[in-house]
Symmetry: C2
Subunit: 322 residues, 2 copies
């Protein structure tokens, strides 16, 4: 590590907010030093309670996360928020609305909020999000909340890395069906029907409960279904209670360890795969790609046969390099 890196880590461990902000930026930008910096704070991770919040767009997740953070703050806990945020092609960054909404939280020194862009970050998003959470964890945040915008696979990957996953739905016709479609019913540890002052809340509440029953869960934990009106702060106490209960349940069983193990396994797997692939493209192959494409476009060769050949070549090159 260079001197700058050492100094940055020192400032990070002394609780300097600008140091963590800088580290997160380095991770987001996949800076050349990011890996070593992450490695050097890694021994301090694994302490924070990680909560993932997901649900369809428009379910009011942002407001709910704000309320959760405020509630945690009341009990003296520090909170990191990782908002997996879409970047707009027009502003070049996160949508203004999301930035603004957090303003009253973001002046609290016990809260650290970071938005991460989803577009243009295919694949590595879950890994990078976890790394940002690791930074917040190592920085000493008691709670780290992941908030996702949609319910796509990459978002599900993000929340599944959490200790507790909160699925947020709204009382709108078909919302519980859509949730089933998106596979949300399988990943929730706690279900929230937000905007429960709207018409149809009771019906959605019943539906979700019914679907969860159908699931015939063999686990000892039965996901509770809660009703909230996040914009009015209603039902937040009950939500925090449920989160605490789930955490307690995880501690008493081996769930927390199991989750942590899964998270690490997935993480290492991803790092290895990304490094391996990078190694491959670093060799002469990248320039060759357009030649390969040409051969396929002109039907001179077919995709799988050609790929086999290229990989064999790579292996031979690696042998020769020795």
């Amino acid at each position: 590590m260079n001197e700058d890196g050492d100094f940055l880590i020192k400032r990070f461990f002394s609780g300097d907010r600008r140091a963590i902000a800088r580290l997160i930026t380095l991770v987001e930008n996949e800076d050349a030093n990011a890996e070593r910096l992450l490695d050097s704070v890694f021994h301090r991770t694994g302490i924070a309670y990680r909560i993932g919040v997901t649900g369809p767009p428009g379910a009011g997740k942002s407001t709910l996360v704000d309320q959760m953070a405020k509630q945690f703050r009341k009990s003296g806990k520090t909170v990191g928020i990782v908002a997996v945020d879409p970047s707009s092609p027009f502003t070049g960054g996160a949508l203004l609305g999301d930035r603004v909404r957090m303003s009253d939280l973001s002046i609290d020194p016990g809260v650290f909020i970071r938005s991460m862009a989803t577009r243009g970050s295919r694949g590595g998003l879950a890994r990078r999000t976890q790394e940002v959470a690791d930074l917040l964890d190592a920085f000493g945040m008691d709670v780290v909340i992941f908030e996702t915008v949609g319910v796509g696979q990459s978002e599900l990957d993000v929340v599944e890395a959490a200790d507790t996953t909160v699925v947020v739905l709204v009382p709108e016709s078909g919302d519980s069906i859509q949730a089933m479609k998106a596979g949300l019913m399988e990943i929730g540890d706690v279900f929230v029907i937000n905007k429960s002052d709207r018409e149809g809340a009771e019906r959605t509440f019943t539906e979700v409960g019914y679907v969860l029953e159908l699931k015939n869960n063999r686990e000892a934990w039965t996901p509770p279904v809660l009703q909230t009106v996040a914009s009015l702060g209603q039902g937040i106490d009950e939500l925090i209670d449920s989160l605490n209960q789930h955490r307690e349940y995880q501690k008493q069983t081996d769930q927390r360890q199991r989750k942590q193990k899964q998270r690490i396994e997935k993480y290492v797997r991803q790092i290895i795969q990304e490094k391996l692939v990078a190694k491959f493209w670093q060799s002469t192959q990248e320039q060759k790609l357009s030649t390969l494409v040409e051969q396929i476009l002109t039907k001179m060769d077919s995709p799988y046969r050609l790929s086999e050949k290229v990989i064999l070549e790579f292996c031979e090159n690696m042998n020769n390099a020795d």
Copy 2:
């Protein structure tokens, strides 16, 4: 290729619907023979017009795709539909509703519909979806329509592989904002406000047009914004007209070739990467993963440093194998 495979390909080329159904199943299941079978039909691909349809859940995409298919059939074109469909954990397959809706189309021999599950298929979905489209293409379908359920990254990957991408929105408060968030405004070649008989249709129409204008597109193609009521068959003629115009535009410019090239490049890239990673885990490493995880969990080593070591080992093993 074994004899069975040869016979299957023969039947496929003779237009046997059971043969394509079987081939698709082999591709979906990642059967050991799938690669060679795909390779052997590859020379017949690249002819079908590929249309991707995406948009938020509940936008009525399924109904719209049905109407599009019917319209294409009226002009004598054969149509393949790849519905990237969520599998429900309760039925073990695609949701019944989606299956039923297609019944009047699925008895038409000029239409071939296939649902593909999204859950549990992380990563490879875009590749497999394209392979199913390749099969439909090689089978002789004039048009292949991809229909996705959500707007996650994997769904965007699917539709971006199409020649023309149709983004479907509904006149609901915030829908155009959500579309921006999900990055949909960037990928649409044609925009459809479906359920345009609902309140707010004009506003959504204006908003979408405004956002597209803001984009300050330097391309010669300006995405049209159309209004439809798919359930009543309204606006479908105009949609097909727009699709034909976009196709014509692509033919006149180098767009179609460029898209095809991008698609092949991405495809080859993916195959190579998947094969490479599989090669790595086939070696002794897979059993070692739990040891690695243990070392990280106990903070004996950190993720990146350890991954580097393991990859070096892999390279050395490959050299020794020679």
